[in-house]
């Protein structure tokens, strides 16, 4: 188990302890370069088993969002490119596939910062989300069933909704495309702790009740590892640590780095954690 070794000493591939179960999505030694010069992902490998929730954790700039953009095909619009490795989804190599086509294959992405269509109403946002499907009446009922609040506000312009409502809308809109894999980029961003719990509650329910496979990026490691079955930790464009969520939660390095807990289990100040982190990286 790679969890025994320190974060900076783990092998780059870290594929030795791949999570059990058939992989719905797998990234194999993916390398991403922006603007032909900036190397962001350096041989990243990870697997998302069918029907599981996988959390991808890491600090700012580790390359988490880039990973999701590589999977969903949004890199070309940001002058980025997968230069090496492959991305396989549902048994099919999608490394070079067009972004719109990937959605048709069954993956949906909720982008960081929610990105709802601000000038459209909630109902219109959901219609836009169902762009690729022929008949979306049932999906609409399903989304309104999970998020009754959206049903109440269906004629409200999305730009004027609260952050929590917008996040629910972003998830609901992604569900309208009938994904088998739902990817979420920082769903907790800018939300109050109670709302974060609520949003992750929805993620858990969608996974348990609908068998939806989820890949979630989070800064808030605590709440993500509570819901996830398996976790990966990224640093500087590669996976440095991985394992079942419960094991990661017990790992001393993860406790120090991402959960902000000291050796004795007590909460340490952010300042200490930051210092410790910096020291550890330079050693």
């Amino acid at each position: 188990m790679t969890t025994a070794s320190g974060p900076t000493t783990a092998p780059a591939g870290a594929a030795a302890a791949a999570p059990a179960g058939e992989a719905l999505l797998s990234l194999n030694n993916v390398e991403v370069i922006y603007d032909d010069v900036i190397l962001v992902l350096r041989g990243l490998s990870l697997e998302v088993p069918r029907g599981k929730v996988v959390a991808l954790l890491g600090s700012n700039g580790a390359g988490k969002s880039t990973t999701l953009k590589a999977v969903s095909g949004l890199l070309p619009s940001e002058h980025g490119e997968v230069t090496d490795g492959s991305i396989v989804f549902d048994g099919q190599d999608i490394t070079r596939m067009d972004a719109a086509q990937r959605v048709r294959q069954g993956m949906s992405l909720c982008m960081e910062g929610r990105h709802v269509f601000e000038h459209l109403t909630i109902a219109e946002n959901l219609v836009a989300g169902a762009y690729i499907s022929k008949d979306s009446a049932e999906d609409l009922e399903m989304v309104y069933g999970y998020f009754p609040k959206l049903a109440d506000l269906r004629n409200r312009v999305a730009g004027y909704c609260s952050g929590g409502e917008q996040q629910m809308l972003a998830i609901g809109r992604a569900l309208m495309a009938r994904p088998t894999l739902l990817m979420l980029d920082e769903p907790s961003l800018g939300l109050a702790p109670l709302l974060v719990e609520e949003i992750f509650g929805y993620i858990r329910r969608l996974n348990e009740e609908r068998g939806l496979t989820v890949l979630v990026i989070e800064q808030n490691a605590q709440v993500a590892l509570d819901v996830a079955h398996h976790g990966y930790i990224m640093e500087q464009g590669r996976i440095v640590l991985e394992g079942p969520a419960e094991e990661l939660q017990e790992n001393p390095d993860v406790k120090e780095f991402y959960l902000g807990l000291g050796e004795e289990g007590g909460r340490r100040s952010y300042r200490d954690v930051k210092h410790y982190k910096r020291r550890k990286r330079w050693l």
Partner: protein, 290 residues
């Protein structure tokens, strides 16, 4: 009173055509962010497409209209594919220069085939007149208002009800997010140019029927700028309000004050609006939550 009603009818008809022309401009700006200086020439192309199908090729009128709409769609898609798509990501000024070049190109193509003399074409709309409260009102101008109202309503419904209309607005709002819904941004761009060309075709044909099939149609099209600046560059309702305002204003100024002043007044409005309300009356406000 009869002068007033007459000017009202003429102003509404002009305004309705302007609204249609401006609709195409707004569609392109809203969905693709391109300021299309060739909108007037799209009207010109529309009028000459109708002339080609109806008078030159001798097709029945209704068939000519359908052929014209199809041809306009093709022109719109080709312009997007061949001229605008290579410019994606370029400086806005470069794109504006390209559309100015496109305007000259389209005008030159028309001159190449038909020269600069006006062409005569049989009337499409009935030319009689009706008496109303002592005024004699031309039937064709009233019908133009009705046709424009129907077309504008159809477009409005398309944007609020249909999946593709909503997808177009979604792309206008947030291109990247639209891509994550499987919406092909390229297709939406092509669709906006096609719809713009079709609305310009209708405007061009109506205008040619009221005046003549000649180069002046393009200069009438230049008036879309005061219209869209007044209504807001990205507002569909704004094109209707802006179009009617400019249409009525020019007719009333021309009738009651001075016809010379009437040709200038739209641009006076343009300058005043830019000074007072630069985003126009209905220009999209950026939504900011606090």
């Amino acid at each position: 009173m009869s002068t007033f009603l007459n000017l009202l009818a003429y102003g509404l008809a002009d305004g309705a055509i302007l609204a249609l022309a401006a609709l195409g401009f707004v569609l392109i700006y809203k969905a693709t962010g391109v300021i299309n200086f060739a909108q007037g020439e799209f009207l010109l192309i529309g009028a000459y497409l109708m002339y080609t199908a109806w008078v030159v090729m001798g097709l029945p009128m209704v068939v000519s209209v359908l052929v014209g709409i199809v041809a306009a769609t093709v022109v719109g898609v080709l312009v997007e594919r061949l001229i605008l798509r290579p410019m994606v990501g370029e400086d806005p000024i470069s794109i504006i220069m390209v559309t100015i070049g496109l305007a000259m190109l389209l005008k030159a193509v028309v001159q190449m085939f038909y020269g600069t003399n006006p062409r005569s074409q049989p009337a499409i709309l009935p030319t009689g007149s009706v008496s109303f409260l002592g005024a004699t009102l031309p039937v064709n101008r009233l019908l133009v208002v009705v046709i424009a109202a129907v077309v504008l309503t159809a477009f409005t419904l398309f944007f609020s009800r249909s999946k593709h209309g909503i997808a177009m607005r979604a792309v206008a709002d947030d291109q990247q997010a639209a891509m994550t819904m499987g919406i092909s941004v390229r297709k939406i761009f092509a669709l906006s140019w096609a719809l713009a060309a079709v609305s310009a075709f209708i405007a061009g044909v109506l205008l040619a029927d009221l005046s003549a099939v000649d180069q002046n149609i393009a200069s009438f099209g230049l008036m879309v700028f005061p219209v869209v600046i007044l209504g807001g560059l990205d507002s569909v309702p704004g094109t209707i309000v802006g179009g009617l305002t400019i249409g009525l204003l020019t007719q009333f100024v021309s009738g009651y004050l001075d016809p010379g002043l009437a040709t200038v007044i739209p641009y006076v409005v343009l300058v005043l609006i830019l000074l007072v309300k630069p985003y126009g009356l209905f220009g999209e406000t950026r939504i900011e939550r606090v």
